[in-house]
Symmetry: C2
């Protein structure tokens, strides 16, 4: 039975609604490109005012066609596009792709137009790409349903990589830049506003294609993250790697995403956590997105308990190698020195190289035999996970000496990557044509290697629980919040609620000194309004503190009925742990060093929730401020096992659809073996 | 009178000592390259075993030449190279460049060989480039004294940029990559080990060349920083910009620099401070080093009190523009929205563009008139310091529409930069040939723009005082250190020294509570051995504290004679300020938030000393931890003016050649208007 994949990417018949007779205009390009690419299916240009376009017969409307096309590319202006989609729905067209903009990004009228499109989809079963889609391309079959001027090419190379992008322009950038690097693609989709088919669904539809080996994603938002998640897990299951570039590392770029696509972009470390947990490798440089997949295909996703990866570097130029080692080290990749045994094997093979971290063949010389023998020895040395070859001048002048051995060694079990120091287009073309991961700049090389080595098998299986959207929520008071923590097994101090109006010291079940706090679900930031008193020494001081609080709360227009009293808890330090259901990615758990400096340094670690203990320990190791708890400078260490256990426990809130947000701040970290204690908690639940 | 510049870069006669008959070998290349480039001077190949090389007459020795050549390139093996240098000295050769390695990086024997070279230089006046130099190139005159295989090119483009590099390979990378981008160079020098002529001196020697407009430096270390400093100041005086890429951002790269060049590489933020204070723009990506200088030539170094620069972005593709805006914003560059007046002028010119931060011409269309009119309006708008044009598909398919207007507008007073989103070699070549700053990747574009806008006029004038090297030094005790602070005008608490053996409470000139500390120049880290007691409430407690300290000090094998007693000083927070004479760059002043977190977050700001108050305030604004002192979250602000004044005062130690190091930690920062107080100080002076 024909599938979405076929109608979307391999249609047997296509209509171009609004095809222009001017091939230099956007609306004139699809027919020109289809013919240029030799598309073998049936093509029906539709033009209401002409009966011929670009020398071919044009039809006045979809209804006038001799058959119902499988895929219609609608390149008319906005209002006509809505009408055309409605007609597609009526006629039973399988997939429509819409070029026009003027939808969600264009205010209320645009939002209303999107609703019209959505209604057609729901009522008729038509599947829609866009609006604001620069089109759908399947290079293998000449399906060029695109208005992208950058694809006006007669000889785009075919490959086994599929591209999906929120930005249509970037498809042209990827395909044209790939062509210049002899890197080909299988197909590409500009997903536009994702009114119906989302980026994740489109990619998922193509997973059965045996001629697609991997995916390159250009992301502007994490809109429809649930579909992206399902695709990523399915892709991992098939062993098809996914490489992503995501805009929005800066606040300025996130702001632009709103004006440009109408979509809100979340914080960047949320995106990082999401992509990493799903086994999607993320690069930071645009060129690594183009050059990176051949490497990713050769570097299996690491198991979570695997040793940290080690890279061997062999070079014909120490200075050139350092330009890659520097950005690699900045990204946390370890360049390991070969073992004594490996150096002995090199020496036995007649390779003269000093015992140093980088295997420098300057003395041995850039000749085929030296380079080949060295590569083969390093590729078989047990201490390495990857070999990086950095080739100097000979890459340009004599690639047969230094580049050919890389190609000839690239079938080894371990991956090899190559960076060419001078301009070396011939060598790069040879490497790319042989499928060897090769890089033109040191930064893209380091970026892609780091991304490939960071990639882990997805941590989560199956779809997430859908976040409850836009329901009303309320805060718990601190005692109610503690009841929730009790259920999760997170320790907190004994706490009693006392009447805030009493004037005699209450009897307490624990000794002084104590802490007293206003107890109210209406006040989220107690300490900001003078609602917290610490280190209260005796009953008289407690009564006085309560009086002061009552006055402070009254000044802020609240009535204070109850006070929470707890013993003072001391420890080696503090942590902040939090849970929330993110609008885009769903349940998240966070660990951070507490206090004002955490805010200043943005020092926190995030994961999709729930997490296990190993992952919680990983999170702890990523928070730099926790170094102070690790027994720094002779100080005793904190109970990081208990901290990890608390993170795991809090992350289990992902199983409780009523909890929207929970933050324990501070969580007191006591010395190793003595546990952690939550001394404040704010919890928000759905009502 | 002929100058060093002439003998070095424009010699009328050259000898190649050790010229081989095999042009594929390093020693065979210089003669081949000289002939290939059409060098017009006299060339004397020297080969002890042949009387003909590459079809030309060879001489048996330097002494056998019919004249003394001005410049000798010595391409023999190490020991023969030392002999050849000695012969050059004897004969009166002006400049010798040495290819061989095996010197300082090769252990004691190599160090001894360097000493031999240095002796020749001192005794004879010969000037030396290298050893380990891949050579000297002057492309305008065909002076190809190089063994770099990557320069085996017949048509290297000439330009007005001079290159100096610690790495010889990188010269080949720069020139070949420049050629591919249609960016030419005037000349290049691989400086090698800098036994005599340093990178700074070589560049300085070329400053009089009217055909050199700017400099590109590839740095592995800051060895000979005094010469680099003198060159940078002189270059700034001539308005010739300097762009640098420096290896060693990672510890791994700094370690490699030692094994590779024998030079120690200092901490990276020291290099950053040094380059910035001298007005040298630093880029982080290698491609920005190649593409960046045309931009730097058009962006004048900013005065230190100028307003923060603002960049306008105009684009034919919003998605593509965001790929540059994102890394720009990550580097702190502000993309400013045009003013209402500018938008009104755009509208009056018929340009349809939404009022947004990026001027998006998608609707107006990528046609010559729209792009040209928009550029001209933005280039003349008073709110901008630079205009960045980001061109989409048309850069590849129709550069006459979107790229030609950039070239035609580039003569405006304000600088313009261009980024091409698709692969667009023709457009990039047109832009480069017209001298318009143009970029191939979004990351290099953002890197170069940020570096150009960050560049300031040098903060210092004239040469620095040479640091006293390797003399013996001693620590001052705390009272002596306070005397030094008194001289600088930095406040500290009243302090008295008391006998550590007394058993009755001393009479104090200030009230309790007090702090007591061991007073000894022999113990630098008092608190680590229990030598500090804080918050002592009364005389009895003071006696007890002293007794405890005496025992603690005795356990560490010291005798405790005196105790320093001070009143307790409280404030809003703490700072650490420090001064030291760096091995490479000389006097430095540092500001950091105090405490353990500073170490963890590496949160500090450095400048060459001395600094003025504006610079001290800049330093304070760069330390993120000081945000907690700026009145964060409703808290009162600290006395940052007094903190700045203390930084200025400490930096004046640069005038005192006896002080090697001084650190005030902590400096207590009190509320605004109440000053700062140094409550501990460690000072090291030469003896």
């Amino acid at each position: 039975m024909p599938s979405l994949r076929q109608f979307l990417l391999s249609p047997r018949s296509v209509a171009i609604v609004g095809q222009s007779n001017d091939p230099t205009k956007a609306a004139g390009r699809p027919l020109k490109f289809l013919r240029q690419a030799g598309y073998a299916g049936r093509v029906f240009p539709i033009n209401a005012r002409r009966d011929e376009v670009l020398g071919e017969r044009a039809y006045p409307s979809l209804a006038a066609l001799p058959e119902v096309p499988e895929h219609a590319y609608i390149v008319t202006a906005t209002d006509a596009a809505v009408e055309a989609v409605e007609e597609c729905g009526r006629l039973g067209v399988k997939v429509a792709t819409v070029l026009a903009d003027g939808f969600a990004e264009a205010g209320p009228a645009g939002v209303a137009r999107e609703a019209q499109l959505r209604e057609v989809v729901q009522k008729t079963g038509l599947r829609l790409v866009g609006p604001s889609s620069l089109g759908v391309v399947n290079l293998r079959e000449g399906v060029m349903l695109t208005a992208n001027a950058a694809l006006d090419e007669k000889d785009l190379p075919c490959g086994r990589i599929f591209v999906a992008s929120h930005s249509g322009t970037m498809i042209g950038a990827l395909l044209s830049r790939g062509k210049a690097r002899h890197i080909g693609f299988a197909g590409a989709v500009s997903v536009g506003n994702e009114v119906d088919l989302s980026l994740g669904e489109i990619c998922a539809a193509s997973l059965d294609d045996p001629d697609i080996d991997g995916y390159v994603l250009f992301l502007e938002t994490l809109r429809n993250a649930d579909r992206l998640r399902a695709f990523a897990l399915a892709a991992a299951g098939r062993g098809k790697p996914v490489l992503a570039y995501k805009l929005g590392r800066s606040a300025a770029a996130r702001e632009l995403a709103v004006t440009h696509t109408g979509a809100l972009a979340g914080e960047d470390d949320v995106a990082n956590a999401f992509l990493a947990d799903l086994g999607i490798a993320r690069v930071e440089t645009f060129e690594a997105l183009i050059e990176g997949l051949p490497l990713l295909m050769r570097v299996p996703a690491r198991q979570r308990d695997a040793r940290p990866p080690a890279v061997a570097v062999v070079t014909t130029t120490a200075g050139g190698a350092t330009t890659v080692v520097d950005p690699l080290a900045m990204r946390g990749v370890t360049i390991a020195q070969p073992s004594a045994e490996t150096f002995a094997r090199l020496a036995a093979a007649g390779i003269k190289a000093a015992q140093a971290r980088i295997v420098d063949l300057t003395i041995a010389g850039a000749n085929y035999e030296s380079v080949k023998a060295t590569l083969d020895l390093l590729l078989s040395a047990p201490e390495f996970d990857m070999v990086l070859a950095v080739i100097g001048s000979s890459a340009r002048s004599q690639p047969e000496k230094s580049v050919k051995p890389i190609i000839d060694s690239a079938s080894a079990a371990r991956p090899i990557a190559a960076y060419m120091v001078p301009d070396a287009p011939v060598a790069l073309a040879q490497l790319a044509s042989a499928g060897v991961p090769a890089f033109r700049t040191p930064e893209a090389c380091a970026d892609a290697i780091a991304a490939a080595l960071r990639r882990r098998v997805p941590r989560l299986a199956g779809p997430q629980q859908a976040p409850a959207k836009s329901s009303a929520a309320r805060l718990l008071d601190e005692l109610e919040a503690y009841a929730l923590l009790d259920g999760l097994g997170i320790a907190r101090p004994p706490s009693i609620a006392i009447d805030a109006t009493g004037s005699t010291p209450p009897a307490l079940p624990f000794p002084y000194p104590v802490a007293a706090k206003i107890l109210s679900a209406d006040i989220a930031h107690k300490s900001d309004i003078g609602g917290v008193a610490l280190g209260i020494a005796d009953g008289g001081a407690l009564v006085a503190a309560i009086e002061t609080m009552r006055a402070a709360v009254a000044r802020h227009g609240h009535h204070l009925a109850r006070i929470l009293v707890q013993p003072m808890i001391s420890g080696l330090g503090e942590a902040l742990i939090g849970y929330r259901v993110d609008r885009d990615v769903g349940p998240l758990v966070m660990a951070a060093a507490g206090g004002i400096l955490t805010e200043i340094y943005r020092d926190r670690s995030l994961r999709l929730a729930p997490v296990d203990r190993d992952t919680a320990h990983e999170m702890i190791s990523e928070v730099r401020g926790f170094q102070a708890l690790a027994g720094h400078r002779g100080k005793p260490g904190g109970d990081l096992d208990a901290l990890a256990q608390a993170i795991v426990a809090l992350s289990r809130l992902a199983d409780d659809p009523t909890v929207v947000e929970a933050e324990i701040n501070p969580l007191i970290v006591r010395p190793a073996g003595q546990g952690v204690v939550a001394v404040d908690a704010v919890v928000k639940i759905l009502v």
